[in-house]
């Protein structure tokens, strides 16, 4: 019999006590995001008092120094996560370090350590977090399986969080998924895409399913096109080595933007159960029309940033960045035109673009509606009407705005577009949780809704694979360039021009 006292308290379900084992616990992601997020969760009482954090690191460090480093970094990078020294001390007491110097038997050492912790009354549930370079994923998963850590004791659970990238093409993603499936069951695997933990992305479901207003017009009858933008002002920073292997299409579009597209375009799920939502996401991605090799030039654009200025500061071009091959053909900008071949979206193009060193840091989804069918204002001073746009801003200034036409005050008939604007920061006070907080907690609770399932990851790769293949074969010497601080290459505008569409000014 299920627990009747839980009824109505689903959102308050506490996370089971567990040991969170972070591989790469001394790395950048762990220090910048994971520990501050965990500290917030602890300070808000959202994780069990018994939960402990065990970091596996290749760096030779002692536990005291490691704890001090984590606390110092958290104070520096996320001061709100460490409200006072007393809290910091208690938080540090829950962190343990296993140094992994690369000698044989290191996973046996980890298993023994977890056994000791359980023997001393600690949690028997294990949540593994792979915050390591992707080349380490498959061997780590296999090693966890080999020492029996993927199979929990009776009454306990064992889960694994895998950071993106989930492969670098369809074949490697399939291989990684198969390697994971050989050790863990799908319900144990949490593929983390931090975009899905963002408040506004979660709000897409509420916007669509909790309002009468939008769902009736959420289709090809009313929507002209959809544009999804993820623009960054940063360059490759310290990640040149990773980025050179990846590029914008792999780094952003195949995962983050494809997941957002799925949330926007999927059919209504029958319930909010994780599998119901993930099934609909998979179905809509399956409907994305394959891009044939001969269509790549009309459906995809790539480019590299050249020297320019961002926010008033001169910056160098990609090829001059430290750690970048001067002859690199890695794209720092990518744009795609996709079509979804189903009843709802027939004929509606979905445009996806992302780039580094663009004019502004902004991520948004723009639902651009069709023009009114008959222009009654055509004989008036109104020269043209702009299309209505529903813009879902994912970052910064999370919120939603609706652009529509309004008459200017006065005797003459003049019309101007105006905006109704909802901003999270204005309408709701309090702190917006970091995406990692939400996702770490969900993994501890066992809710996979906001994690990518194997099939949707592979669908994402299926969609971009022809573009990757075509780009890999293209032997032109230079990629199209765009000036750092601009909105990207002119070729990206041409991608939309065939349908008289334009990228939104952001």
């Amino acid at each position: 019999m299920s627990n009747p006292f839980r009824a109505g308290m689903l959102m308050e379900h506490p996370a089971d006590p567990c040991v969170l084992i972070i591989f790469g616990g001394t790395g950048d992601l762990a220090q910048r995001k994971l520990f501050p997020s965990l500290a917030h969760l602890v300070s808000e009482g959202r994780v069990s008092e018994q939960t402990q954090f065990l970091c596996v690191s290749r760096k030779d460090s002692d536990q005291g120094a490691f704890r001090a480093e984590v606390i110092d970094n958290a104070k520096k990078l996320a001061p709100a996560s460490m409200p006072n020294d007393e809290f910091a001390r208690k938080f540090a007491d829950r962190m343990f370090l296993v140094t992994d110097s690369g000698e044989g038997g290191r996973f046996d050492k980890l298993r023994s350590r977890l056994g000791e912790m359980a023997g001393a009354g600690g949690p028997r549930n294990h949540l593994f977090y792979l915050s390591i370079p992707p080349t380490g994923y498959a061997p780590t998963i296999a090693a966890l399986g080999a020492v029996g850590l993927a199979n929990p004791e009776a009454g306990a659970w064992s889960r694994i969080i895998i950071e993106k990238p989930f492969g670098r093409d369809f074949a490697s993603a399939e291989a990684l998924n198969s390697a994971a499936a050989a050790v863990f069951r799908e319900e144990q695997i949490y593929r983390i895409d931090h975009y899905l933990g963002k408040e506004t992305v979660q709000n897409i479901l509420v916007l669509r399913l909790a309002n009468t207003l939008f769902e009736p017009i959420w289709n090809h009858h009313y929507v002209d096109h959809v544009a999804i933008t993820a623009a960054e002002i940063l360059g490759v920073e310290e990640r040149a080595q990773y980025y050179e292997e990846s590029g914008a299409l792999r780094d952003m579009i195949q995962n983050h933007l494809m997941q957002i597209l799925a949330m926007i375009a999927m059919e209504r799920p029958s319930s909010l159960a994780p599998e119901a939502i993930r099934d609909e996401k998979r179905k809509v991605l399956e409907c994305v029309r394959p891009i044939h090799p001969e269509e790549v030039a009309q459906s995809a654009v790539r480019a590299q940033y050249s020297a320019g200025a961002v926010a008033g500061k001169a910056v160098q071009g990609y090829l001059q960045e430290s750690g970048v091959n001067p002859n690199s053909r890695t794209e720092t900008y990518a744009a795609l035109k996709l079509h979804i071949d189903n009843w709802r979206w027939s004929g509606v193009p979905f445009y996806l673009r992302t780039g580094k060193r663009l004019a502004k840091r902004v991520t948004e989804v723009a639902i651009v509606f069709r023009n009114v069918p008959h222009q009654v204002f055509s004989q008036s001073p109104v020269d043209r009407l702009e299309q209505n746009v529903l813009a879902i801003r994912i970052q910064p200034n999370e919120g939603i705005s609706l652009k529509f036409e309004a008459k200017l005050p006065g005797h003459a008939l003049h019309v101007r577009p105006v905006e109704m604007d909802f901003r999270y920061g204005t309408s709701f006070g309090g702190r917006l949780s970091d995406a990692y907080e939400r996702l770490l907690l969900d993994a501890m609770i066992g809710d996979q809704t906001l994690f990518a399932r194997r099939d949707s990851v592979e669908e994402g790769w299926r969609i971009v694979q022809p573009v990757l293949d075509n780009w890999a074969q293209d032997s032109n010497d230079l990629l199209p360039q765009y000036v750092a601080g601009s909105w990207g290459p002119a070729e990206a505008d041409l991608l939309l021009a065939a349908r008289q569409h334009r990228w939104r000014k952001l």
């Binding site: 006292f5 109505g8 308290m9 506490p14 001061p79 920061g425 204005t426």
Partner: protein, 352 residues
Amino acid sequence: MSNTVITPLAPPTFVDVSKIEQELELLWREAESSDQPVTRATAFNLVLVCDTSAQEAARELIPELALVHPTRTILVVLNESAPDAQRAWVTAHCRKLEGENRQICSEAIILEIDGDAELRAQSLIHSLSLGSLATAVVWHESLPLTHPLLQMLGKSCDRIITCAADHLAPASHLHTWFDLYESVPPECVVTDLLWAHLSGWRGAVAELFDECPDVSELREVRIHSQGDKLTCGALLCGAWIASTLEWTFRSAALLGRRPVIDCENNCRLVFIPEGAPASGIEFLFTQDRTAAVLREGDHFNLTCGAHTRASRVRPVDTLALLTHELHAWGRDPRMDKSVRLAHDWLPELLFT
């Protein structure tokens, strides 16, 4: 809670009651011309009503609530023993948006109404509430629930939160609260902070039964409470447990000093007002098995058979409870069921 700082846009300005809106406009115009841009944010009307004894605490609450709920706040302070008079102040509180120069500000109107207050207060609240937005009324425990102003506001607002039924108040208090609950139109949602206050206990019981799953074999629940009388908190908690378990009420009686609720299928609830410093809930199953949730300092001890573990009690204060309640505008069917059940028990409990 956020570390964001909230600051007054300007100190409260004494204004003529008939010119409150004009004064607010002036306040915003001046703010807009300052070098730090402001956004006037209002998600709903928040009406706080108290008497002079609670005035200071209520004034302190305004900026704290504005941090999380941007509202037009109307604080009404009643002083019914003084001769008829009314005074007003306007102010606004701002918080800075992260990484921006812009401030998000919420306005507040403070009304002191002396003398025979209900009609004047009601008309002022109506005229000052922004019509397109919902209105929540927070009724302070310093004023009785039978106050005619509350009855009037109940007919026009969307939400009433009372703070009258302190969890240690005698159970008879729940009777008055239930009358209010029944008297407002169905579209107005009435809650008491008591229900929010019990959320810690409810969470702990739910946590206990995650690991102790034999609910169907539960035969007796003993609720220990502080004080020497049956309290509102204990009664509502018992009603929540009984309604969750779908126990059907048969009769109520006193066993010594202990009120006992007998239910169908030989199940029963026993209230134990022992005046002990600690309080807790014991669960007795068939075959002498037991489980318990005991409050000890800042922890609940959850015991199921031989296994005991601690669960942290989340600290709650009026501000935290109010903030939480103002997030939830819908009716909570669990509270509805519990309150109705407790109300059904009351006549027999109070008069046996």
